[in-house]
Amino acid sequence: MRPLHAAAIALSLGYFGILAVAPAFRADWRITPGFTESVWNTVLYASVATILCIPAAALLGYGATRLRLRFAYALILFSTAIPHTAIGVLLAPLMSSLGLFDTPGAVVFSMWIVSLPYATAIVRASLEGLGREFEEYLRCMGVGGFRLLYLHAKAASYGFAAAAMLAWLRAFSELGVLLLIAPRPITVGIQIYEIFLKYGAETVTTASLLLVPVGVVSVYLLSLVEKRAAAL
């Protein structure tokens, strides 16, 4: 085995080992009450947030790529540098004025806010891959407006699928914003945090480990999408 091979495998196994294998030896394998409900809530709200995120990411990604609106892209991407608790603080006045604290709307909105930059970045990259000629040919064929955006999305469908999957994963794992503006309805990150504060890490080790398959399955599906895209 070549040294780089071995180093990459060792690093990835080490990473997985620290996060998923070592804690398994301490888990009591008892599911905390309310865990299932919190997972279903999170799946539902992350899915809604993702469905709302992709059209926005499509428009922003298209704007950044074809309409030379790179400033619009920067106006979205800056939030990735901000701790999510800070984003929660910044959103708090808006949520207060709209009376949305602790509502499903606030949960979905929080997830949407944090997922949008990542989805936009992936959409942008996949549209860049189509090349300028794609747009120019279509425009010469009289295609314009949303029809043009639709054909771009169709041509970059695997990129859009990857963007949707990553947006969903980002939404599912959100905690910081939710802590400040939408701890209810309860999502899985909030539940684990609250039980950790009250009873300590050992009580929520099982719940945390049960989320590992969510990540593994999602990443596997993402790799299938990438494989199909590469085959084209």
Binding site: L130, G131, E133, F134, E136, Y137, L138, R139, C140, M141, G142, V143, G144, L151, K154, A155, S157
Partner: protein, 229 residues
Amino acid sequence: MLRLCNLSVSIGRLTVTLERLDIAGKTVLIGRNGSGKTTLLRAIAGFLGAGTGKILLDGADITGLPPEKRPLGYVPQAVVPIPMPPAKQLEYFARLWGCDYRDIVEQLNLQGLLSKTRLSAGERQLLAIATSLLKQPKILLLDEPTSSLDWFNKQLVWDTLGRLDVPMLYVTHDPVEAILVAEEVALLANGVVQPSRRYPRPADLRETLETLDLYRLFDRPPASHDVHR
């Protein structure tokens, strides 16, 4: 007929100028890499503004029109990945332009292509050409359409273009390709497009093409003098 008058197009440090170029048939514009051929083509298509000059198509000034409104077809250098099967693609654009795609299919002999799900690069270029013809363009702009194609796919495209009755401006860096495609040739060098001129075509173009086709050399068993030892 496309008429370009006193045109000047700039992008970055590159400026392309021409005094007058008329295109009524198959005109090839040859020039080296980086000479500005694509820049000029994109300006005619409407993606770059002309600094000065006019672009007239059948007497109408289209200089200020956006690309969508210019009655011309444009086939870029890179093969365009329209995300539809061939028949659906033709149907989609035929519906957009209110015409019947079957006429184009028959004219270009593309029946075999419609049922395929995977197309070769040459077939995809042919499909792009056929699609652009649905618009009934007054002129076709082709930006090195065979540059990424192998010999066989190049011939497929050349043969198809040869059957078309649409004026075209065909850009290439390859003089051999120019000979095979053009009725007139214009040269772009040092940022200036020189007026097009007819050139003495080889007496037998088909024989020239067969001479260039080295693949045919291996279709027959080698004679003793053919084999390099």
